[in-house]
């Protein structure tokens, strides 16, 4: 492998991953390292965040749920993004691995949405005085959850693998358009009380809405959650590929 991994080298390699064998080899090689990194980042980030930062002046120790809430929300959205990209690649390039990655991404993203909503509710009780408000951001996440459910349910409803891959991909793309539309409709519908985005990255410079004492462990747990997503995604996709292989081998056996 060349030491300079420029874009020129990246894309040909990326497309090669669409071959199940290549994908299995590379994901198998990377997985132990990614798991180790996940444990390291998530462990450090969460322990640092939970035990080694002071309580917030106003919010007390409740603020510490932020180390679960913000990263899970971040992954919930990006999981949907991965799902849409995988679906798009399938419709354009007709290679199974991409749609299997999309399929694997959905339940992870869905779970992350539930985690984000639950931790948000637990945090909201003492701070806002209620578990749930119809705030735009909360509402958008609930809607995102509904979109995830639809996608997963469609996968479960049809047996023919190629057909269901097409249909779920179409749903993912149309769903993405309507999810974005819902987001803006909901903002229009109710200006909310949720605080602004916690971490915004603009022009490569981190602008912080919270003080850096909380920010550093938060960043670490966000990276940790990102790696956790990658780990689960790879394991999920590898399982799906093995299931496909099993189907093909069974088919071959029946032909003999």
């Amino acid at each position: 492998m060349s030491t300079k991994l420029g874009m020129k080298h990246f894309w040909p390699f990326f497309w090669k991953l669409a071959n199940p064998k290549v994908f299995m080899r590379w994901s198998g090689l990377c997985l132990p390292w990614i798991i180790a990194l996940t444990v390291l980042c998530l462990g450090t980030g969460l322990i640092w965040g939970f035990f080694l930062t002071p309580d917030d002046a106003r919010q007390g120790s409740t603020v510490k749920i932020i180390y679960l809430h913000v990263p899970s929300a971040f992954i919930a959205i990006n999981g949907y993004f991965v799902m849409v990209l995988g679906s798009l690649f399938w419709l354009v390039r007709r290679q199974h691995v991409s749609v299997l990655v999309a399929k694997a991404s959905a339940p992870i993203g869905m779970t992350m949405t539930v985690i984000a909503l639950t931790t948000g509710a637990i945090w909201g009780q003492p701070i806002w005085g209620t578990y749930w408000v119809w705030d735009p951001r909360l509402t958008s996440f609930l809607i995102l959850f509904l979109f995830y459910i639809g996608y997963v349910a469609l996968w479960a409803a049809i047996d023919d693998q190629d057909k269901v891959a097409d249909l779920t991909s179409v749903l993912a793309l149309v769903g993405a358009v309507f999810a974005v539309l819902s987001r803006y409709a909901v903002i229009f519908w109710n200006q909310g009380l949720h605080q602004g985005t916690t971490v915004t990255i603009a022009d490569g410079v981190s602008q912080k809405n919270i003080s850096s004492i909380f920010f550093q462990p938060l960043l670490l747990s966000m990276i940790g959650f990102g790696l956790l997503f990658l780990t689960l995604l790879l394991i999920g996709a590898r399982t799906e590929i093995r299931a496909q292989r099993l189907q093909v081998l069974e088919g071959l056996e029946r032909l003999k």
Binding site: L91, L146, A153, A157, D162, K163, V170, S182, F188
Partner: protein, 218 residues
Amino acid sequence: MIQLFTRDVVLSVRSGGGFGLALVFFLILVVLMPFALGPDQSVLAKIAPGLLWLGALLACLLSSDRIFGMDYEDGTLELLATSPLPLESVYLAKAAAHWFTTGLPLSLAAPVFGILLNLNLEVGGVLCLSLLLGTPALSLIGSFGATLTLGVRRGGLLLSLLVLPLYIPTLIFGALTVNAAALGKELDGSLIPILAITLGAIAILPFFSAMALRANLQ
């Protein structure tokens, strides 16, 4: 395209499946509401715009799994797919026929049913207008959902699971417009987002629906 639209309208009028049923379902929903919420006139007037929009939306959804279902089962869809008519047009014609037999009568009936919920006629006019602009989007989205669940046995429940989240933006803008009118505000272009969703649905959904139909006919 026109021939398919006309045929679908004729079929739904003759078989009595979609045409009257959605309207009656809408009426029953409106009649049940006061039983659930109490007969207080001021409460009913306050929630009437939202209820009527929601009722119209559910009535639209209820009839959408038959849009392609009948033609799929009796083989017509296969024959249409091999005809010179592109599947995009098949989808548009069928969605249009669905709107003509459900969305249009629902929109016109909504202000009349609104009287039962103490909705004044002026707001009723805005409600009718917003439904006229919004129900085409509901029919288009419902038909799109129907192309996805075509081969699924008893796909009705799955269809609502897929379609209801897609209805959210239309519902939000629709109900928002009528609620604002009920508070005595000017329209001020609040119908534009509804129209935009309908036009956007016309622009993108035929392409994706045709793709889904093709996959389902494989």
